[in-house]
Symmetry: C2
Subunit: 177 residues, 2 copies
């Protein structure tokens, strides 16, 4: 049987319960209350996902010690697959369309990957983001005059957002080492 690839939601859940074993409800709360991604927090999404992850043998439901709560805990196989996802090389598409996924991966790296790997990740992020901003800017400079007002303004938003991301990335590289 070929191991199926977890979805982004699955990884988000894996990352969360790696930080701390918790109930499905707590996970739902986190998705609902925090700005964490845009993941759905409805029971119809979370509970089936938790069942998926159990079937994939990546998490398990256990009795929390010192409590009577049934919490989900990540298994070693889950940690491994999570780690692989975290250090997967960044691609152009991640920068262009999956910004939030990149940030989510960074947020979960904390205790899971080495400083060296974090630096590799961030440097690559910086490089790709620099190229991306440059491409946007180049295109904008020649096409702006022909764009409808709102299209132009929305495009400008893309540019300032990209620049902000880049600035953040550079700051983090300095701060982390």
């Amino acid at each position: 049987m070929t191991q199926k690839k977890p979805t982004l939601l699955d990884f988000a859940i894996l990352g969360l319960i790696h930080q701390k074993a918790q109930t499905g409800y707590q996970i739902r709360k986190t998705f609902a209350d925090t700005a964490m991604g845009n993941y759905s927090s409805s029971p119809g999404t979370i509970y089936p996902a938790l069942n998926r992850l159990q079937k994939m043998d990546l998490i398990e439901k256990i009795q929390q010690k010192g409590s009577d709560k049934l919490v989900f805990q990540i298994k070693n196989s889950g940690v491994e697959i999570l780690k692989k996802w975290l250090i997967k090389p960044l691609e152009k598409e991640d920068i262009e369309k999956k910004n939030h996924e990149v940030l989510l991966r960074f947020a979960f790296m904390d205790s899971l990957v080495s400083l060296k790997q974090k630096i590799v990740f961030l440097k690559s992020f910086e490089t790709l983001q620099t190229e991306y901003v440059h491409e946007l800017q180049t295109y904008f400079d020649e096409a702006a005059k022909d764009m409808p007002l709102h299209g132009r303004l929305a495009f400008e938003y893309g540019i300032v957002s990209g620049k902000t991301t880049l600035k953040w990335c550079k700051k983090v590289i300095k701060e982390i080492q």
Copy 2:
């Protein structure tokens, strides 16, 4: 029969073909090549969506004049529903989790809504965004010291992003009137 609500993808398609009647393939290209949202460009997504929109009587397939191409064109009913979506009051949730949807709506407003309505939209965006950034900042100031390094840095990203959005919003308000 109750009219079903179009999905976000449906609105993205409606907005696109409102700007210019085009083929399904051209729409796919736009989604694939531009940074426009994170909408899927696979045929299995676009063509069923186009069929949905036809069934909802919001678009039609016509022979383009001066060409033999079959293009999709928005109908009056489509324009109406698009307009309604554009000027729908912004809510807190739109700011916290649906940034890209807000921007998409702004991008499509161009010729469809009055300047007055645009200003209302932007002012409300500014207000909500200001509150949001303030909330983030307040929470951060007291919680930062207890956050794991990566969590803290990712949170900071949320704050600088929010501030960038706010700055953009203020600039646009000035520029548009």
